[in-house]
């Protein structure tokens, strides 16, 4: 809610203007019946034709003015809402792309997407409705009460006694209804999840012809969603008719008590009639306010989900240069006794529940996952290379994540060019790198766009990178070459072609540090070998870190780090490791031993 107010506050001039115009328009609207009454009660009996025409003309003019004002006010309201939702989505998007790995994991991708889409939409429509509805309802409510109190205080007491009861009931029902809607939202999440799973796994689903099973699974979640939705809607259907009932009972009371007061000569019967009119006005006011209240409560749940993301820190803080650790030895890239676990990452649950949300990674595997890395040390001089090898899930990728500061280490120091990575501005640190992640993503863009990736690179750099990544050949076979459009996630090229484009992206800016995480798993050995030798030939200055499953990919590296279960079980050159590390030797033999 604060978020909505904050944004409304930023546009307070424009919002105030919209409200003011609406106020004048509404006043004009209320004026029309008064003019009509005046015509009938005062002008007509005088039988003055000119005056009749004059007042009639005034009515037409007022009606036209009211329309103009209301249109302007509505336009302003929509315009303000469009500004606010634009700003909100923009800041949410920028925040999300800048989130640290820990915060991103904590909220989760699907939830981030739905905050961006449906939540921001709810806020937008609330902002619009607040401006268009919030003038009329209070005027009718307050105006109705004041006028009726002035007319006959005793009768208006009925209204005054009834109002708090009404409001209490509406509030109670809503208080119960809103948590029900939170449940609806959860069920909807499940429906969306199943759908997403079925879409991403469509090949498996089709191959195992589980279409019917998936449909059944979807049906169950779908029915659960609908049941919950119906329950919530049933509860929320109570206030409207209930209020009508209350108000109309009030009307009956007014008639009875009013007639009694007529009987005792205190009021004229006309007062009862007028009262009925004002009662209706108050009722309309209350209906309007309830609608506003409902809109606000729905929007504020959404706004809270957005605020929760906006409140997350923008990545991890940058330390002053003096505040970092100092390396205890030389080396362009150094890891000194680094330990890290993903469990450290806990953020407040932005979903609205009470239990704090722990990233799944930590919650899942219990003790054995506690430490993703323990006591890892290595050091590389500029231009040297490091290969990392080890079983799946042993922490290879985590080394990269820490080096590039997607997470901060729990213990130990990580240094690039003699400086603690935490003292680098994020952008300055990452500009040093060219990276291919495991399962990295191709964006919907041309091949050229995917390689230069928003950096200001000249044609030659792109072509050279593509050539070193062994991508030139297949690119030149495409009708549009580098300008060939990639589908979503690069669906129109093969896995190996994707990886070569990704490597070209990493190379294109001639990075100081080249990070390749399992980036040649879909390449055949020959292309892999050609790529490696081209990289060391064309980019001799780059310090390379390569994660691989194949010994042949990394055996030529200056140093090799062998990992198991987050620990270092071997470190040195290929030759050293053949002597000192049994795991490495064995892996080597399995992979290459059967060569004749």
């Amino acid at each position: 809610m604060k978020l909505i107010l904050h944004h409304l506050g930023r546009l307070r001039g424009a919002v105030a203007l919209a409200l003011l115009i609406k106020l004048i328009g509404t006043a004009g609207e209320l004026l029309l019946p008064t003019i009509l009454e005046h015509i009938i009660d005062e002008v007509v009996p005088s039988r003055d034709l000119t005056m009749v025409l004059l007042w009639g003309g005034a009515m037409f003019a007022t009606a036209f003015a009211v329309r103009t004002l209301n249109v302007i006010a509505n336009h302003r309201a929509v315009d303000n809402a469009h500004r606010i939702s634009f700003a909100l989505r923009q800041s949410l998007f920028e925040k999300t792309v800048n989130l640290s790995g820990a915060s991103f994991d904590g909220v989760g991708l699907p939830s981030l997407i739905s905050r961006m889409t449906s939540d921001s939409y709810n806020v937008q429509s609330a902002v619009q409705q607040l401006q268009t509805l919030s003038v009329r309802a209070p005027i009718m409510l307050v105006g109705g009460i004041i006028v009726s109190a002035l007319m006959d205080f005793q009768l208006s007491l009925i209204l005054i006694v009834m109002l708090p009861i009404l409001i209490a009931v509406v509030l109670t029902v809503s208080a119960r209804g809103i948590p029900l809607y939170t449940k609806v939202q959860k069920r909807l999440d499940a429906v969306v999840r199943i759908m997403r799973e079925a879409i991403t796994g469509i090949r498996v689903v089709k191959a195992l012809r589980k279409e019917d099973y998936e449909s059944k699974r979807f049906r169950e979640a779908n029915a659960a969603l609908t049941d919950q939705d119906v329950t919530a809607a049933t509860v929320m259907a109570i206030p409207g008719p209930f209020m009508q009932l209350c108000l109309n009972s009030g009307l009956a009371l007014v008639v009875i008590i009013g007639a009694g007061r007529v009987n005792s000569g205190e009021i004229k019967p006309g007062v009862i009639l007028a009262f009925l009119t004002y009662f209706n006005m108050v009722a309309m006011g209350i209906f309007g306010l309830t609608r506003i209240f409902m809109t606000i409560s729905r929007a504020s749940a959404s706004a809270d989900r957005i605020s929760a993301v906006l409140a997350l820190p923008d990545g991890d803080p940058v330390l002053p240069e003096a505040g970092g650790l100092t390396p205890s030895g030389p080396g362009f890239i150094r890891f000194e006794h680094v330990s890290f676990s993903y469990n450290g990452v806990v953020i407040d649950n932005p979903e609205g529940g009470n239990e704090p949300r722990v990233p799944d990674r930590a919650a899942f595997a219990g003790e054995e996952r506690e430490k993703a890395l323990s006591d890892i040390s290595f050091s590389l001089a500029r231009g040297e290379s490091l290969g990392i090898i080890g079983p799946t899930g042993c922490g290879k990728t985590t080394v990269i994540s820490l080096l590039m500061r997607f997470y901060d280490a729990d213990e130990g120091g990580i240094f690039v060019d003699g400086r603690d990575v935490r003292t680098y501005e994020k952008e300055a640190l990452r500009r040093k790198f060219g990276t291919v992640f495991q399962n990295d993503i191709i964006f919907r863009d041309t091949i050229r766009g995917n390689i230069s990736f928003g950096r200001d690179l000249d044609e030659e750099a792109v072509r050279e990178a593509a050539a070193s990544a062994q991508a030139s050949e297949f690119i030149s076979e495409l009708p549009k070459g580098l300008d060939h459009e990639m589908d979503i996630r690069g669906a129109n090229v093969s896995g190996g072609q994707k990886q070569r484009i990704l490597v070209a992206r990493a190379l294109a800016a001639s990075p100081e540090i080249l990070v390749l995480d399992d980036s040649s798993s879909a390449l055949d050995y020959r292309t892999d070998a050609a790529m490696r030798s081209a990289i060391s030939r064309d980019y001799p200055e780059a310090t390379v870190i390569m994660i691989a499953q194949r010994v042949s990919s990394i055996m030529g590296m200056t140093k090799i780090l062998v990992m198991d279960n987050g620990r270092c079980i071997g470190y040195g050159s290929h030759k050293d490791l053949m002597q000192t590390c049994p795991f490495y030797r064995e892996t080597c033999e399995i992979q290459m031993g059967d060569m004749e």
């Binding site: 329309r67 879409i199 796994g201 191959a207 195992l208 209930f242 019967p269 080890g390 093969s494």
Partner: protein, 596 residues
Amino acid sequence: MPGPGDRGRKKEKPRDAKGTLRRIIRYLYVYKWLVVIFLLLSFAANVGSLLGPRFAGAAIGVAEAGYRLGPGNVDMAAVKHYALLMLAAYALSSLLSFLVTVGMTRVGRRIAENMRRDVFDKLMRMPVGYFDRHQAGDIISRVSYDIDVVSTCLSADVVQILTCLVTVAGSFAMMCVISPPLVLCMLFTIPVSILFTRSMAKKTRPRYARRSAAYGAMNGFTEEMFTGQRTIQAYAHERAVSEDFRRINQEAAEAYREADGLGMTMGPTMGMISNFGLAAIGLGGSLLYMAGTVGLAQISSFVLYSRKFSGPINEISNISNEIFSALAAAERVFNLLDEQEEVKDTPGALRLMNCQGNVAANHVAFGYEPDRPVLKDLSLSALPGQTIAIVGPTGAGKTTIINLLMRFYDVNAGEIRVDSRDYRTYTMESLRRSYAMVLQDTWVFRGTIFDNIAYGHENADMASVVAAAKAARIHDYIMRLPQGYQTVITEDGGNISKGQKQLLTIARAMLYDTGMLILDEATSNVDTGTERQVQHAIRSLMTGRTSFVIAHRLSTVRNADRILVILNGDVVEQGTHEDLMAMRGVYYRLYASQYS
């Protein structure tokens, strides 16, 4: 980057409001009796609320009669009688309108459920290619957002329209009774309203459609970028992406402003028309009064009814905005439902029973895009139980062969025969049922490990799942998890590693008793130590099945009965390992390069 917004626009088809409406009504038709009942109840509720004022008037009439006779002469018993009748009418109306709201909400939600189900079932019948071309986010937004808009419109607006019609008809009748000449005065408002609504509809509908499309494009972009968040950070590309988003965001905000801005002129304009009507009554009434044909009391009550008459017309124009956006949303849903489905089985298609595994491809040509052939002239044959290895450089079309074998795509030319018949003469289901497969892209869903392994095997018991897991060498890992086989894998399998996911999919295939097997880089994500163990299991998986194996590690395909070497979409060499080595051709060079 190309704007997804442009893409959305290109897809815009001629809008067909009537057709869309007809299809929505078809959904309503399922609940026709409920709808009829609720509409009748709603009619009764409206009549109740129209009766209320009459009883109130009667009570006031009694009071007035007494008032004229002086204090103490009011017939209080009669007043109470009418007040109670009035209360009863209102209470009945409140109760009925509560029932109607609940009932229609239920109908609306059930229809939403049915639509979601239809969309999902449709997705399951869609060819794999559809999902290669469309973003999951865009598809999901139709289910989560568009259908919701339609359902809200159905549950709220249908009743509202009926309420309005009853009120309009009732008050029109009353006005005719009071003074037909006055009716003529305000009659002009009806055609004006209709014409105006029509011309507005023509203008607003495309804008609402564009708004929907712009939102869809924005959601798609968001999903893509959030998915690639880490890559974006690694290249310090946050700002550029935010700029791209700014443009798309702006486009969505503009589309909203244009649609809703125009939509919001509707209410005030309709208000003006009805106020003109009011002014006309004022003028006409005054003139008629001066001519002596109507009395003042008649004018007052005529005015009251004319407001009841025009109120709902304004309401309807507000609703019509919602209806237009609902129509646009429904159209998007129906467009999806109209997409080309996967090719149907030819009439008289056979069930492929007890597949022998005799497979032959004759002169197959295929390309994902017509102008870019991936396979030019592929022929291969496999006898029952044989292992066919497909090797070749990346991008040669190996995965495409799998897509064709499983009939995820249809060949452009040539034919594929299974057990000596063109495989298009088999039912799709039975054809795919004859394959077990382990693909490069591992896929798991949220569910227990047990469910993930048993997926595709409806009657698997614990013993067979455990046996499969043991054979896939993942049993020990599973047992170390806190809940063993009941451990829930979270969305996208984020909490288990790629390698473990692959082992799960191998275990899944183990459970499958089929004639043919596809292994597409089945062990690419498994480290070498595990792979050696898994190889053993895979070998037993291959026994007795015709197996198609794609592997980069040539050592894993040495024992194949036949090795096909694919280059640029053609089979350039085939034979056993020994044959091919002796040829000293492409295969020999590939093989040698792995161990250089």
